[in-house]
C-alpha cells in the first residue's frame, strides 16, 4: 500500500451504497497526476471516486518547489529579486511588488510618485493579462477552445507593450527597491491606452461566446460552490473571496503604491447568474475585474506625474537595516504578502513569501466532496491556481 504525504493510495475500502438497495460498487483511486492538461501546472490530485462522483480529493503539492525562500536568504537583495518573479509567473509584476513593498516598509525607503504610478500601470496590465489567461484557460477546461485564443490576442499585444518597457514578456524584473528600472515614453502611453480600448471593446465578444453560453452556464452555475465561510476559513483570497460575497480588495482596504488616488469599484458576488460563490461567479468576477483594471490604467496614465522613476539612494549593494515588516498586496490570484525580517546583513534574514494559490488549493479537499469529475475540473479551473506561487 503506497502512502504519499500521509495519503493512502489503496482501494481496499468499498463505497457505501447511496440507497439501501443500490448496487454495491467499488471505489476507484484515481491519480490526476502532475502532468495533466487541467491541473494548471504540476499539481497532483489523488481522487477517490465512486464512478464519477468524488468521495475524497487530496491535492499533493510540492512538485515545483524550488527553495526560493532559502535562496533569498543566501543572495543579496538585488540578486534575489528575479527569483520572486518566477513564483507567480503569470502575474510576475504583482509578485515583485509583494517582496519589494515589505522591504521598503521595513527599511523606510521612499518611492517617487512617478514610480508608484508606473508600478500601478504595470501591475494592472499584468492583472488584466493574467485574468484573460485564467478566463480563457477555464473555457479550455470546459471544452471551449476558441475564446482562449481570442483572449490571447489581447494578451499578445499587452506582452508586446510590457516587453518594450521592461524587456521581458513573462518575467520582468522591473520593480526594484525604491522604484522601477526604466521610464516610459509618451508614445508608449498612447499605445497602452489604445490597447485598453481594444480590450474593453472585446469584452462583449468574450461574454457572448463564453460567459453567457448556455452550455457553459449549465456546466458552471451552481457548481462547486465556495461560500463565504469556507473561503474565510481556508484563507482563500482574491476573486474567490470576492465572488463568495466578501468585499475585500487590498487595493481599497489597505492601499499601497498610491492606489488611493484612483477611483474604481470592487466587484463583489453574487453576479447576475448562478449562485454566490459558484464557478460561474468566479469566472464573471475575473472579467469584471478586468474592466475595473482598465479604468485604473486610464486614470494612472492621465494623471502620471513627472519625476524620478527610482530612488537614487538604492545602489546595487544596498542592504536593508535591521527591522521587519509584513505588507500584503493584491495579486491576480489573491493576496500575496511577504514577512520580511532583516538583521542588517547583505541578504534578508527571512523573506517568507505567501502565494495565494497555496491556500486556494488547500480548499480542494473539502469542496470537492460529492462533485462529479467534470465539476471538479470546473472547480480547479475557476480557482485559477499557479503552482509556482504555491510551491515557491
Amino acid at each position: 500500500m503506497t502512502v504519499i504525504q500521509g495519503v493512502k493510495l489503496d482501494e481496499s475500502e468499498r463505497a457505501a451504497p447511496a440507497l439501501p438497495r443500490d448496487i454495491l460498487t467499488e471505489e476507484l483511486v484515481f491519480n490526476m497526476g502532475p502532468q495533466h492538461p487541467s491541473t494548471h501546472g504540476v499539481l497532483r490530485v489523488v481522487l477517490r471516486t465512486d464512478g464519477e462522483v468524488v468521495h475524497d480529493c487530496h491535492p499533493l503539492v510540492g512538485n515545483l518547489h524550488r527553495c526560493c525562500e532559502k535562496i533569498l536568504e543566501n543572495l543579496t537583495y538585488v540578486q534575489g529579486l528575479p527569483y520572486v518573479d518566477r513564483m507567480d509567473y503569470l502575474g510576475a509584476l504583482n509578485m515583485e511588488m509583494g517582496l519589494v513593498l515589505s522591504v521598503e516598509k521595513a527599511a523606510a525607503v521612499e518611492v517617487p510618485k512617478r514610480a508608484q504610478y508606473l508600478r500601478v500601470i504595470m501591475c494592472e496590465i499584468n492583472r488584466v493579462i493574467s485574468h484573460l489567461f485564467a478566463a480563457g484557460q477555464f473555457g479550455l477546461d470546459m471544452g471551449a477552445f476558441t475564446p482562449f485564443l481570442y483572449m490571447f490576442r489581447e494578451r499578445e499585444e499587452a506582452l508586446l507593450l510590457l516587453n518594450q518597457v521592461t524587456g521581458g514578456r513573462l518575467l520582468y524584473h522591473y520593480i526594484r527597491y525604491g522604484g522601477v528600472t526604466r521610464d516610459v515614453t509618451d508614445d508608449w502611453l498612447k499605445r497602452c491606452l489604445a490597447w485598453c480600448d481594444r480590450v474593453a471593446a472585446h469584452m462583449d465578444e468574450y461574454n457572448n461566446l463564453l460567459t453567457y453560453n448556455h452550455i457553459f452556464l449549465n456546466r458552471t452555475c451552481g457548481v462547486a460552490i465556495i461560500d463565504k465561510s469556507t473561503a474565510l476559513r481556508y484563507a482563500a483570497t482574491g476573486p474567490i473571496l470576492r465572488a463568495a460575497g466578501v468585499a475585500r480588495d487590498l487595493r481599497k482596504d489597505i492601499p499601497y503604491s498610491s492606489y488611493e488616488d484612483f477611483d474604481f469599484k470592487v466587484p463583489v458576488g453574487p453576479h447576475d447568474k448562478g449562485v454566490v460563490g459558484d464557478s460561474w461567479n468566479r469566472h464573471r468576477q475575473r472579467l469584471l475585474e478586468i474592466e475595473e483594471s482598465l479604468k485604473i490604467i486610464r486614470q494612472a496614465v492621465a494623471k502620471l506625474p513627472s519625476g524620478d522613476v527610482s530612488n537614487p539612494k538604492i545602489s546595487r549593494g544596498w542592504k536593508a537595516p535591521e527591522g521587519e515588516a509584513y505588507v500584503a498586496s493584491e495579486a491576480p490570484r489573491g493576496e500575496i504578502s511577504c514577512y520580511f525580517v532583516s538583521d542588517g546583513g547583505k541578504a534578508p534574514y527571512r523573506a517568507r513569501m505567501r502565494g495565494p494559490s497555496f491556500q486556494n488549493i488547500s480548499l480542494l479537499g473539502e469542496t470537492s466532496r460529492g462533485l462529479l469529475i467534470g465539476d471538479l475540473i470546473a472547480l480547479m479551473g475557476s480557482i485559477d491556481i499557479t503552482l509556482g506561487e504555491c510551491d515557491r
Binding site: 471544452g143 481570442y150 463564453l210 453560453n213 467534470g374
Partner: protein
C-alpha cells in the same frame, strides 16, 4: 444474399472477371465485383477524403481562432495530413505491460472497420453504390453500435483508469444516443417505405422542394425536428463536441485512446473523421435529397438523369456543408457534462423523436 440488385460497376467487374476465367458470371463473381468496388471506394475516395477532412478541420479551426492553421508543409499546408500519417507510422509501437494485449491490439481495427464499413451502403451517385442493401439504413446504425464495442475494448485493455472512465462514458453516451438516432432515422424510412438508402434517395428525385425535409408544410413539421434530432444524435454518436466527453482532452488527457500511440492512434483518429463524414452523408441522404441537385436536373427524364459525376458533385457538396457545420460547432461550443448528456438524451431528444415518428406515421396513414 441480400443484395437488392447488382450496381452497374460491380456487374461490369463481375463480367470481366468471369470472362477472364471463362465462366458465366454467377453470384460468386458478383460478390467479388462488389468487394472490388467497395475496396476502390475505400481507398480512392474515403481515405483521401478522411485526410482532407482533417486538413479542412485544422484550417477552419485556425481561421475561426484568429490564426492560420497549418501552412508550412506543402503549399497552404496541404500535405500536413500526409506528414502526420508518416509521423504516426514512424513512431515506436508501445505495448504496455499489464495491458490485455490481444484486446489492445484488436480494438483499433474494430473501430476502423466499423467506421469504414459504413461507406459501403452510401449512394454517392446514381449507380455508384458499393452494395445497395435492402436494409442499408439499419446496417448503418448497427455499425455505430459495433464501434462502441471496439472503444470499450480499448478503454478496458489499456490498464489505465482514465481510459476506463472514458470508455464507460463513451458507452453510456453512444448507446443512449442510438435511440434518438434510430427514431429520427425511422421518420424518412417510414415516409418512403423502405430502409434502402438508394430507395430513399430516389424518392427525393427532383428539385429542392422534393427533399424529405420539407415536402409540404405538414411533412416539414414532422421532418425538421427529425432532421435536427438525427444531426444532434449523430454528433453524439460520433463523439464530436459538444459531446466529446469520451475523449475530453482537458479532463481525461485523451480518454479511451490515451495509451495508444503511433499508427494505432491513427486507427482511432481517422475513423473519427470517417464517422463524421458518413453521418453527414447519411443525413444528407435521408433529409436533403442525397445526390440530387436542388434544381431538379437529375430527376428521371431530365438533363442529368443518371449522370454519375453530377450526382457525386452534389452529394459531396451537401456532405461537406454538414461536415463544416460539425467543425464550426466543435470549435464554438463548450463540452457538456456526462449527466447532462444523459439528461438531454432521455428527457429531451427521445420524446422529440417519438413525437416526430408518431407524426410521420399519422401523415403516412392520412396520405
Amino acid at each position: 444474399m441480400i443484395l437488392a440488385e447488382t450496381p452497374p460497376f460491380s456487374s461490369h467487374i463481375a463480367g470481366w472477371l468471369a470472362g477472364l476465367v471463362g465462366m458465366e458470371p454467377n453470384w460468386l463473381f458478383s460478390a467479388v465485383g462488389a468487394l472490388v468496388v467497395a475496396a476502390v471506394i475505400l481507398l480512392l475516395v474515403v481515405t483521401p477524403v478522411g485526410l482532407g477532412g482533417v486538413y479542412l478541420e485544422r484550417k477552419l479551426a485556425g481561421r475561426m481562432q484568429n490564426r492560420r492553421g497549418p501552412n508550412r508543409v506543402g503549399p497552404y499546408g496541404l500535405l500536413q495530413s500526409l506528414a502526420d500519417g508518416v509521423k504516426l507510422l514512424a513512431k515506436e509501437d508501445i505495448l504496455q505491460r499489464g495491458a490485455d494485449s490481444p484486446l489492445f491490439r484488436f480494438a483499433p481495427y474494430l473501430v476502423f472497420m466499423a467506421a469504414f464499413a459504413g461507406f459501403v451502403v452510401l449512394p454517392f451517385a446514381p449507380g455508384l453504390v458499393a452494395a445497395d442493401l435492402d436494409v442499408g439504413l439499419f446496417y448503418f446504425l448497427a455499425l455505430i453500435a459495433l464501434e462502441t464495442v471496439g472503444i470499450v475494448m480499448a478503454g478496458w485493455s489499456s490498464n489505465n483508469k482514465w481510459s476506463l472512465l472514458g470508455a464507460m462514458r463513451e458507452v453510456a453516451q453512444v448507446v443512449s444516443y442510438e435511440l434518438p438516432l434510430g427514431l429520427a432515422a425511422m421518420c424518412p424510412a417510414l415516409a418512403v417505405g423502405s430502409l434502402s438508402l438508394v430507395a430513399i434517395t430516389d424518392y427525393q428525385a427532383g428539385p429542392i422542394w422534393k427533399w424529405l425535409l420539407w415536402r409540404d408544410i405538414y411533412w416539414a413539421i414532422a421532418m425538421v425536428p427529425a432532421f435536427l434530432l438525427f444531426y444532434t444524435a449523430g454528433l453524439a454518436a460520433a463523439k464530436r463536441a459538444p459531446f466529446d466527453l469520451p475523449e475530453a482532452e482537458s479532463e481525461l488527457t485523451a480518454g479511451f485512446h490515451t495509451e495508444y500511440s503511433g499508427m494505432r492512434f491513427g486507427m482511432f483518429f481517422l475513423p473519427e473523421y470517417a464517422m463524421m463524414l458518413s453521418l453527414s452523408a447519411v443525413t444528407s441522404v435521408l433529409f436533403l435529397g442525397g445526390y440530387h441537385d436542388p434544381i431538379g436536373l437529375s430527376a428521371p427524364g431530365k438533363l442529368f438523369d443518371g449522370v454519375w459525376w453530377w450526382g457525386l458533385l452534389w452529394f459531396f457538396l451537401k456532405t461537406t456543408f454538414l461536415f463544416l457545420t460539425q467543425i464550426a460547432l466543435r470549435w464554438t461550443l463548450p463540452r457538456i457534462r456526462i449527466d447532462q448528456v444523459m439528461y438531454l438524451c432521455y428527457k429531451v431528444l427521445l420524446p422529440i423523436g417519438m413525437g416526430s415518428l408518431l407524426l410521420t406515421a399519422a401523415l403516412r396513414l392520412l396520405g
